[in-house]
Symmetry: C2
Subunit: 219 residues, 2 copies
DNA sequence: CTAGTAAGTGTCATATATACATTATAAACA
DNA sequence: TGTTTATAATGTATATATGACACTTACTAG
């Protein structure tokens, strides 16, 4: 009996959907591919799993190599393995996702990708492989996670708010992540019931309207 | 530029957790391994994905080859790829699960496994690889799916009931699948609200107690 | 006819979701 | 200074889901 499995092996990659809010709109981090297939196409970052690294570690490494983005709390989305999803050879990919702040983030595309940029989710380019499907699945999952219970993902939403924020700002963030408008009064009830808001007893100034109360969160 | 990716490739398998109720207890379908590693150990069925088949098709094929079980509605659980989960070489597995009736099912282990048997989930043998972890994840998912909304999995629960069943029988099935006891009155409210039960105007006989009304379901 | 056993049934409290309209307060401007 | 404009702030009613909880009914066996 031989000591290696005598079956042909597919390639295995990890692909990562990184979401952020920029300019009040949901964005996703895409890279421009450096090599064929789909050279010069946009794609979600990802690459080959090394033989000695765990799937999530491979995902983290590829993400950093292609975009410079590090230290994000990835969550597995699932495996995608339609036989012809890669025109070169059989490639099975394990998809991950995360929600991160991106303002002070410096994208470093140089090494393993021709470019790395944030794209508005409402204005996406044509994507390589089956990445449009993976991304759609991730988008759906994001919307569910953001309000359904107090998950890591929901907590990440507050990263898009300044230290001191108004409830209107918070509502805008959650609306962006969910992809739908929320009722103001119901949102305020929800956030007060589910998060530990501190009323800072300060108000905004300068607006041509009634000033808003400022809050901070404690986790 | 070469036409194949010059990275080493891991092996990729599909592993399948098949649940059923037998004797009123939750069981899982395991196979006895025919070859090393873990020769003669029990394991959840599974095997190598072929180069031209989709993940779910590979899972279905392996399941049939190793157990004789066919035509089950598999759902993907996720990918497991810890580097040393297989002592021989790097193997990444994609796990699937399903809930099926098993009474008239004939297990045919002969071909690709030394044996195939149903095991009581409360009396499992030591499992090969990391299959205990995969199985634990599947068990948890099953419990959630059975009552949370009207899913395929929830519908499958009725397969464990005869054409005409009492509400007590139905409750027993759902208790087994959830792994916890349910309140009789609350269960009756729930099943009446969520399923289309037909009161057959018949009653059981022969019990040393008050006869029970018989129902059937319509989907 | 009595004992045993499982069937059958309703209410209250709590939590969550959703719909919906008016008043309050500051800045800008005439 | 007072009028306009823009956003902030607030409460109630309804519907639905969840979970706790105890007594009466009806058959069988002895």
């Amino acid at each position: 009996m031989s000591y290696t499995y005598d079956y042909p092996h597919p390639a295995v990659t990890a692909d990562i959907c990184i979401f952020s809010i920029r300019d009040g709109k949901l964005h996703v981090l895409l890279i421009k591919r450096l090599v064929d297939p789909f050279k010069d196409s946009w794609a979600i970052p990802g690459g080959f799993i090394k033989m000695d690294e765990d799937l999530i570690d491979g995902a983290r490494r590829e993400l950093e190599e292609e975009t410079g983005v590090a230290d994000v709390p990835l969550e597995q989305l699932g495996a995608y393995g339609t036989p012809d999803r890669d025109p070169r050879e059989r490639v099975i990919t394990v998809a991950f996702m995360a929600l991160v702040p991106s303002d002070q983030m410096v994208l470093a595309a140089a090494t393993d990708a021709a470019d790395a940029r944030w794209f508005d989710m409402d204005d996406l380019p044509k994507l390589a492989f089956d990445h449009d499907r993976i991304l759609a699945d991730a988008r759906e999952r994001l919307a569910h996670k953001v309000t359904n219970r107090v998950t890591e993902t929901a907590r990440a939403a507050f990263q898009f708010l300044p230290e001191k924020f108004t409830l209107a700002q918070a509502q805008a963030v959650f609306e962006t992540l969910k992809g739908e408008d929320l009722d103001k009064r119901n949102f305020r009830k929800w956030i007060a019931a589910n998060w530990d808001l501190v009323d800072l007893k300060e108000k905004t100034t300068g607006g041509r309207h009634r000033p808003a109360a400022l809050y901070s969160v404690e986790f």
